[in-house]
Structures are given as C-alpha cells and as structure tokens.
Subunit: 128 residues, 2 copies
DNA sequence: GACTTACTTCTACGCCATGTAGAAGTTGCT
DNA sequence: AGCAACTTCTACATGGCGTAGAAGTAAGTC
C-alpha cells in the first residue's frame, strides 16, 4: 500500500519540510499559502481547505503509519514518522521487492541513472 | 500513474512470463489455473473470469501504455510493451524522481540492500 | 457549574480507478 | 443468410481520496 493522493502528498511534504510537529491549523494555513515550488506548475496556489479536511487526511495518514500525533497537547501535533528520504527509499524497496528478478531490475535501474548519481552510488557502496 | 490493480498485475505477470504474445482466452485460462506462486498465499487458486473481464483489463493496460496488441490477427494478440525488469526499474525511477533529495534517498536505499545486491551493484557500476 | 469556544471525531457525498461481466456490434466461414 | 467467435460498449459494485458539515468533547471564563 504505497501510493498517496495529491492532498496527502502535499501534507506529507509539509511535514517533511518542517522539522517541528505541526497542528492541523498550521498545515491548513501552509497549504493555503504554499505555491508548490517543486512541481512544474509554477504559480499554482494552494487551496483554502477546511480544517476538518486536513484532519481527515491526517487521520488517514496516521492509519497508514506515515504520521504520528501527540494526543496530549490540546491542538494535537502531527509529525512524519520517518523522513522523506527514508520513506522514499522504503518505497523503492517495495517496488523492487515485488520482482522475482531483482538483479535484472537493479541493472536496468542503474543503467538509467545520471552520471552524478552513479558516482554517488559508487561512493556509498565503497570501492570494494 | 504507476500502480496496478491486483488483476492488472496478474495479467502483466503472465504477459511478462510468457515470451509470446497471448490472446485474451489464453490469459483467461492461465489465470484460472495459475496458483500465484510468488505471493505468500500458497495454494491460492486463480479465479474463473469471463473473457470480457480479461479484455477490459487488457484495454486498460493498453491505455496505460503497458500492453500492445496486434489488431491484425483475428483473436488479437497481446504482449507487454517492456520487460518486467524495465518496467520495475522505471517505477523505481518514478518513485525516486519525485524526491528533491535524491542523493539522500539513494543513500538510504543502498543502506538497506542485501550484501549480495550491494555486490551486484558494485559490479554493475564498475569501479570507475 | 453553566457557557462559550476551540478542537476532534463521525458521517457523508462525489469522483475516479478497478474488478467484474452482460449486451450489443462486428467479422469471417459455410 | 446465418452461425460462431471475437471485440466493443455499457454498467454496476467496491474502495480510496478530496472535501467538509454535524455532532461530540475538553478547557478556560464568569
């Protein structure tokens, strides 16, 4: 169960970007202002959502194990369970894992990686 | 647009497994017999589907660009556009691509790869 | 302690992907 | 022309996701 919806992803991006736990209201405001800089749609202004909408999404993300909430504080505070890098890497493993021919997949994968990234990978793997 | 449904995946698995293009009827029969060996559910016997069901799925897979059909022959023959390894590798790139911190992701990714696979990767990358 | 206010949970609805398949249309053979 | 095989159209159920109002709960105020 990997994929996220558009809004779910937007929320996760905010949680991943900010280092602190955030409240639903904060997130709502951020969503309203944010201009989604990383997607191609420059100038795409975030929508004005109801707080309950954000809360619903957060609940679903919690159910999926992507988000944790502190129930102690009065406005509950939400934070991502793992970093975006961790999560993405996990996703990649998920995708890879469903293949019986892992080696072949890896071959294709690194075959279409940029030179820079290949270099990075070499460093990360240690020169043996 | 990456994810496949369960039946869609089953069909793709058959198309990827067989080297020849297959007809909807063939696939229907294979789906009925197959015991889905790769998923954990041992003994899970495939379902008896209507041919139209298989055709619908094939059409959708065609629309997604995963499947090609020969319209010339009378029972159309279907085949996967790319190999499973290619497709999976592409998926991995898709997942990776949506991240602004690709290097970090790669670090986490190879951090949780088996020793064997790390070895494979080293070989594939060449020691530069 | 009742009231108000902020916050959370419940319930709900529309949309779209997917599984599933019958009905209707098409093509080729006899 | 008529039948049989095959394809396309249409359709319905289910479930995830975006979206949010209604209802419930807690916390501070008078």
């Amino acid at each position: 169960m990997a994929s996220l919806g558009e809004l779910e992803r937007a929320v996760m991006d905010l949680l991943w970007a900010g280092q602190e736990a955030a409240t639903a209201n904060t997130l709502r405001d951020l969503l309203a202002q944010s201009t989604h800089p990383q997607d191609g749609t420059a100038g795409h202004v975030g929508k004005d959502l109801a707080v309950t909408t954000v809360l619903t999404v957060l609940s679903r993300l919690e159910r999926k194990g992507l988000v944790e909430r502190e129930r102690g504080t009065r406005p509950h505070r939400y934070q991502a369970v793992s970093s975006r890098a961790d999560h993405t890497a996990e996703l990649m493993h998920e995708v890879l894992g469903s293949a019986p021919d892992r080696e072949a997949v890896l071959a294709r994968f690194i075959g279409s990686v940029t030179d820079n990234e290949a270099e990075t990978l070499r460093k990360l793997l240690g020169r043996n």
